[in-house]
Amino acid sequence: MHTAVVIFPGSNCDRDVIHAVSEITGSVVVPVWHKDTAIPTSTDLVIIPGGFSYGDYLRCGAMAARSPIMASVKKHASQGKLVLGICNGFQILTESKLLPGAMLANKTLTFICKQCFLKVEKTDIPFTLKYKNDQIVQFPIAHHEGLYFLPQDSLREIEQNGQVVFRYCTSSGEISEDGNSNGSLNNIAGIVNRQGNVLGLMPHPERASERIMGGTDGALMWNSIKTWIDREGA
């Protein structure tokens, strides 16, 4: 399993995700600076980490989405290889149209950092195959613009296609306003593209990967990806 983590000016979860993925899977994770022209050819998984690329100025992820390295990321995705965007990475993926939707300010109009419960609704993709269907997991969120928005007809479409992977819920798994801290439409926390190889989510699996950090639900994601890549590669 070869992972590349793209670092933009202002990314700040790059080191975290490198730590978590290499710690959990024991595989090599390389940083790729946004000014580099290409992603290493052997790369199986590209991760766009959280943070505040370009200061989150103008719109979160807007400037990063238009930077040269994203052409390589799009090419990587078009070859059916894996791309994962976490938090600001998710925002970058929507801004670059690799995923549908846009992120608006949280309904509280504040930054929110706290543990959240999520329901895993799709487990037939490389990122989640180790989760059980409808499993309730706990990942933290940490963002100011995380309210997932899509016009009604497009929203219906991604729902019908089963592209919603993670939904905010209560500790008992109820999909209600209660568990939906940022006010996302349909409680959407993470979605995948139609091909199933590009995933974006606002919560941070890398912050839920080690017991000492308070939980290991996120580690399953890294193990899912590793299992899938090992299988595909063989």
Partner: protein, 718 residues
């Protein structure tokens, strides 16, 4: 220009002329006015600060550098310091608080350390006032607005409300950094022939003379005396952090200094003076954001996100290429020379020529008069009879636990990224210390932040000692051995003899406790003149103590009672209501004398508490602090979701026992198989078994009966 317009006093001006042997020119005068301001020179407090013990077995760097460093073993050091940004936050809450966070991060960075965590001490005024709501909202947003993007988690803090802060809110920002001990960068190692490089943002007219502004009383109409507000850019700061650390990794930095108050002048002259060299600065080479800036404006600009570093000339091009990688401006703006001359040139003209050592030091100390306040007897005139006793204390507990001071601070810390960098083992919440892991090592770092203004107001010596002790007790209970302390001394004007007395006495009290508990002071900051015409703040020393937990097994958490655990109370049963939350609740103002500081008992407590944690003798432990025993019990119940039923067979008046504060005391939840060893560890120290954890209520026969569920609700304001 008259020297008073530059902010100098007559004796200071005379001293300046005498040292120079001539009249200073206007630019020199402006520079000296800022550099000899209270904020930059510490002139009022230098003699006082020398009372602090500064040496100890773990101290690597003490006061004098940009921050202190303690040794945590395995070649790792923790750099830390706290700094105030009070006046700027009063005027522009968001920007003031934000740049406070940015500034302290650069102090840590200057040592070559990676900033790994922040804490914030916030003091707000009357919580009922809209003014307080606006200020606190802006300040909290500002702290998150900077700390979150810059990628340094805010892992804890202290929040305190009292009406004395209504016009003068306090914002104290603390930062911790991690550095390999063999990679520390100093600000005292510049040598002649080296280049002076400015890295970071362009210089504009931001906050010019802001340092001087920090040292004057706020006028009623802050709009009219409006200073230039500094705007922080956390995006650039993040780049600056990475660039500086890359430069350090590559061995390119000889010496470094952050640019805080008084910008380029302060940072460069400080390096020169501490290194025992001179410097020539070329102001026409400084990258500017605005046109037409005068030399004095460039000299004193407080534009944010800039660092000054000394590098070998042969490495300059390498440094420039790294700056370019991180999209930062960089320029060689001077060179180090032999001697003691600090020269600023603008083109061919010499605009400043001062002795380097004069600028940052040599300011005459003002020698403020000190006198015991005449109302001391009146303040101390309190007997417990002044508070009528009522057997049923349930309503009091309800009021206390839901008061702005003691209730959950979630509205604050949920606006902060508490976890980025993946080191936060215990973040903010229902606990008194925060804990960080150090990746690649077994060790954990504990940090606690405390302040106790009501007690400092009543008796600054005892209050100062209690503040430090409280911080250390919390660490010890969690299994963290205190290694060093930082502090921020927030006071009103020192020019009033009674106020200078308060300042002096509290420093003495703090110093006494530090010495007794072997906790040296490694860094700190002073903020004076926190007053307006109609209001002055309570004496508010704030401390941050860093401690070492040897490994995760030796760490004791709180708020995790299990059904059947034995709940023990350790400590004397005669705390004091003076300056307590209960007294404030009952009487509206502090009265009486807080408990006397007992060094012997404190260090005895610390040793036993550390032993308890290290041997794993308890499941949960909490030092007793604000709100007393009852609040500590309530907080344990809230987090554990379990109650306890008890009968108090202690002859003290029950409200004193339950709500009194001060002295080394704690509660522990001990599993039955550890009781013998636990008792053994505490033999010779007052210890009482209170109850077995269990049930749905916190019940104290005859005095308290409240459902845990209700406690949770009111504490969380749900």
């Amino acid at each position: 220009m008259h020297y008073s317009e530059a902010g100098l006093r007559e004796n200071e001006y005379k001293a300046l002329v005498e040292t120079l042997g001539r009249e200073p020119n206007e630019c020199e005068l402006l520079i000296m006015g800022v550099m000899w301001s209270e904020h930059c020179s510490y002139k009022s407090t230098k003699p006082l600060l020398s009372l602090f013990p500064t040496e100890g077995k773990s101290v690597v760097l003490g006061p004098g550098e940009n921050a202190g460093i303690v040794d945590i073993g395995d070649g790792n050091g923790i750099a830390f310091k706290v700094e105030s940004h009070n006046h700027p936050s009063a005027v522009a809450p968001f920007q003031g608080a934000a740049t406070g966070v940015g500034g302290i991060i650069r102090d840590i960075l200057a040592l070559g350390a990676r900033p790994i965590a922040s804490l914030d001490g916030l003091f707000f005024g009357d919580p009922e006032l809209q003014k307080t709501k606006n200020l606190s909202d802006g300040i909290v947003r500002g702290i998150g607005g900077y700390g979150n993007p810059v990628g340094v988690p805010t892992v804890g803090g202290k929040t305190f409300y009292d009406k004395s802060y209504t016009d003068n809110p306090l914002v104290n920002a603390m930062c911790l950094g991690h550095v390999k001990l063999d990679q520390i960068i100093s600000s005292q190692t510049a040598l002649p022939g080296q280049a002076v490089v400015l890295l970071g943002s362009k210089t504009g007219r931001d906050g010019i003379a802001g340092a001087a502004f920090a040292s004057i009383e706020l006028s009623e109409d802050t709009k009219s005396s409006r200073p230039n507000i500094q705007i922080g850019d956390p995006f650039v700061e993040k780049l600056l952090i990475e660039a500086c650390l890359e430069l350090k990794e590559k061995g390119l930095i000889v010496s470094m200094q952050d640019m805080g108050a008084a910008g380029i002048t302060s940072s460069s002259s400080e390096i020169a003076a501490k290194s025992g060299v001179g410097m020539i600065m070329y102001f026409d080479r400084v990258p500017l954001r605005e046109t037409g800036m005068e030399p004095w404006e460039i000299a004193l600009s407080e534009s944010q996100e800039r660092m000054l570093m000394i590098v070998e000339f042969e490495n300059v091009s390498h440094v420039m290429s790294i700056a370019e990688k991180w999209d930062l401006d960089a320029a060689v703006i001077g060179e180090v020379i032999e001697g003691n001359d600090y020269i600023i040139k603008d083109g061919e003209t010499i605009v400043v020529d001062l002795p380097a050592t004069l600028i940052g030091s040599d300011c005459p100390s003002p020698d403020w008069e000190s006198s015991v306040p005449s109302d001391l007897a009146e303040k101390w005139n309190f007997s417990v009879e002044n508070i009528p006793f009522n057997n049923d204390l349930t309503p009091d507990l309800r009021d206390l636990i839901s008061s702005p001071n003691l209730r959950e601070k979630k509205w604050i810390y949920e606006q902060y990224d508490q976890m980025v960098q993946l080191n936060t083992v215990t973040g903010p919440g229902n606990n008194d210390i925060s804990v960080l892991r150090i990746k690649g090592s077994e060790k954990l770092v504990g940090v606690s932040m405390e302040s106790d203004p009501w007690k400092c107001y009543l008796d600054p010596y005892r209050g100062g000692a209690e503040t430090v002790a409280r911080s250390i007790r919390a660490l010890a209970v969690a299994g963290a051995e205190p290694l060093g302390m930082t502090n921020c001394l927030n006071y009103p004007s020192p020019e009033i003899p009674e106020q200078f007395w308060e300042l002096s006495e509290s420093v003495k009290g703090m110093a006494a406790c530090c010495s007794e508990l072997d906790c040296p002071v490694v860094s700190g900051n002073v903020s004076l003149y926190n007053e307006t015409a109609s209001q002055r703040i309570l004496p508010t020393p704030l401390v941050g103590v860093v401690g070492l937990i040897r490994n995760e097994k030796e760490m004791l958490r709180c708020g995790c009672w299990k059904e059947g655990d034995h709940i023990f109370y350790v400590g004397l049963s005669d705390p004091s209501l003076s300056g307590s939350h209960y007294q404030m609740h009952k009487m509206g103002s502090p009265k009486g004398r807080p408990l006397i500081f007992n060094g012997q008992a404190e260090s005895d407590f610390v040793a036993r508490a550390l032993g308890t944690a290290r041997k794993g003798l308890a499941r949960s432990g909490r030092a007793i602090a604000g709100g007393g025993l009852a609040s500590a019990l309530a907080k344990e119940c809230i987090s554990s979701g379990i109650g306890a039923e008890m009968k108090l067979n202690i002859p003290t008046r029950k409200d004193i026992l339950l709500f009194g504060e001060g002295g080394p005391r704690a509660i522990y939840a001990v599993p039955s198989d550890k009781i013998v060893e636990f008792r053994h560890t505490w033999r010779g120290f007052p210890i009482v078994m209170l109850a077995k954890a269990g049930g749905k209520s916190l019940y104290i026969e005859g005095h308290l009966n409240i459902k845990v569920e209700e406690l949770q609700k009111i504490w969380r304001q749900e």
